[in-house]
Symmetry: C2
Subunit: 320 residues, 2 copies
């Protein structure tokens, strides 16, 4: 297994998801050079984990038709994990082929759904079938990559409502049995609350202590930051976020419509920094990168501090 540890220079590890979860449903194709430039810049300002692309079917997700090309353009950086999501065995085969050419991602992720209905609709497989799929992918991936498991709709399902925490526990244990020690809990449609986050994290830390949890919240109902803080206070140290709070499934009414995006990176970094929680991110560069993300999408995104500025208490630490 690949190491999972929080580097000495920080208290939390953020994964910047703009280039994949953020762009997945953007209708306009962002040029490969631009995406590669952004991913590289994210790593340069301190993100040790960056979600770079997805080995998707180009017909289904044209935005990632350039997955191999983008990864080939990325300069390697010591300590940086570039993640590519893999939906099926074919995706893992592409990831292995790229890695063998020396240009690939060094982290890949597999997705399970905690509810049967969401698995059927989002993954087109039953939960049981998806776990067969994951076991095959795991075998094919061997020890080439660090692997991240993701459990989506871990805090509630838009189709079924409440999700039994024991189903999430089942999935986290299943990842652990496959030697996957890093597992993201996905609040896919923004149904989590601090109460639920505390309860689920406590359950999982008691039952599967060998797994390092990643908090992956969506800000559909404005609860991104409050759930991140609840996760932090419950002991979680890995967080997913996207500049400008982009991402999610904008079209699908079934997913709630309205806001769908990830937790906003710049707002989360500001919140952590204002409390003395070290993110390892270059605070002086943060808003400049947020603006670059807005330029890439040619519109104003959802970050609050991008407009308001860092907290004066954070800004004061920069000039001192």
């Amino acid at each position: 297994m690949f190491p999972v540890h929080v580097p000495d220079d920080r208290d939390v590890v953020l994964c910047e998801c703009f280039a994949r979860d953020g762009l997945q449903h953007e209708s306009a194709f962002v040029a490969t050079e631009e995406k590669a430039g952004l991913v590289d810049r994210f790593a340069a300002i301190g993100f040790t984990r960056v979600e770079a692309t997805s080995y998707s079917n180009p017909k289904l997700v044209p935005q990632f038709a350039d997955a191999s090309e983008l990864l080939a353009q990325l300069p390697r950086r010591a300590g940086a994990w570039y993640k590519a999501t893999c939906a099926n065995l074919r995706a893992v085969e592409r990831a292995v082929a790229d890695l063998e050419r020396g240009v690939g991602a060094n982290e890949i992720s597999f997705l399970a759904s905690a509810s049967e209905s969401h698995s059927q609709r989002n993954l087109k497989r039953s939960r049981e079938e998806q776990w067969d799929n994951i076991r095959q992918m795991r075998e094919r991936a061997g020890d080439f990559f660090r692997i991240v498991g993701t459990v989506s709709v871990a805090f509630g399902c838009p189709f079924e409502g409440r999700v039994d925490p024991r189903q999430v526990l089942h999935d986290v244990q299943a990842f652990a049995r496959l030697g996957i020690g890093l597992v993201a809990l996905g609040d896919t449609t923004g149904m989590a609350t601090p109460r639920d986050v505390r309860a689920l994290v406590r359950l999982l830390e008691a039952e599967v202590p060998e797994v390092t949890l990643v908090a992956h919240f969506h800000d559909s109902r404005g609860t991104g930051l409050v759930n991140c803080m609840a996760a932090y206070e419950a002991g979680v140290r890995y967080f997913d976020a996207a500049f400008g709070g982009v991402g999610g499934h904008p079209a699908a009414i079934a997913y709630g419509g309205g806001y769908t995006g990830n937790v906003c990176t710049e707002d989360l970094v500001n919140l952590f920094a204002a409390q003395g929680i070290r993110t390892g991110i270059d605070l002086a560069a943060l808003l400049n990168v947020a603006q670059r993300c807005e330029k890439a999408l040619q519109r104003q995104l959802l970050g609050h501090v991008t407009r308001t500025g860092l907290s004066p208490l954070v800004a004061a630490t920069l000039s001192s």
Copy 2:
């Protein structure tokens, strides 16, 4: 002193601030009938405290030139506190005159600034001068009204940075000595963090236990909900919020620019409700009222659940 207690049907008491803190800096005048209709509707759906207007100088704040007329249009409701803010002795005299005519607010609020610079710039008086002012207002108000004290920049000042919690303690104690048992802690420019909220609430609850604290946060940096939850967990049960997250000081660069609004009511109510925390607000009517507020301002406001919908877990409790 007037009673301060959480009614039996709820765990928290929300004050709806749309009509005053929300509208204070809106350039377009909202018709008196429309404002009165909104304030009445807020009370009708369960807000026992509603910030209705301000006895301001009409030349400085044209939006509230109709303060007396608006209050006169409000039907009285048992258990409803209609608040008017008072900046000076003249304002209190107007409030008393209206009350004597039987049409006035039954709650008024006085404002102190926890930092010297903010007091000078926002109130045009030193802290000491403002406390002389408050003592005169307090004397003139007599026992006609429930009085709320507000300490602005309680969690940080845009001009001075960190604010010593002992200055906030000083102000809360000064309100208490005047028999003012309800005191709001204002995060005027969105500098508070959960860490600061917990620390300040603990200090005040230890030193001034006779005072009931009100959490008044602004969402300038996206931290409204996370600070409300921190305040709740520290024991605070009174919260200020505004539909659509409107309000604050949009023009003043000195105040940070960018986002300035209050905590968004509909997002806060959804967050509380999803955790089983009873707000007493009619959840079935919530989004309809949020939309009515958008119509009043003729633009899309900042509420997330207004677009995304209540959490399915909350919605399920309505249809059952």
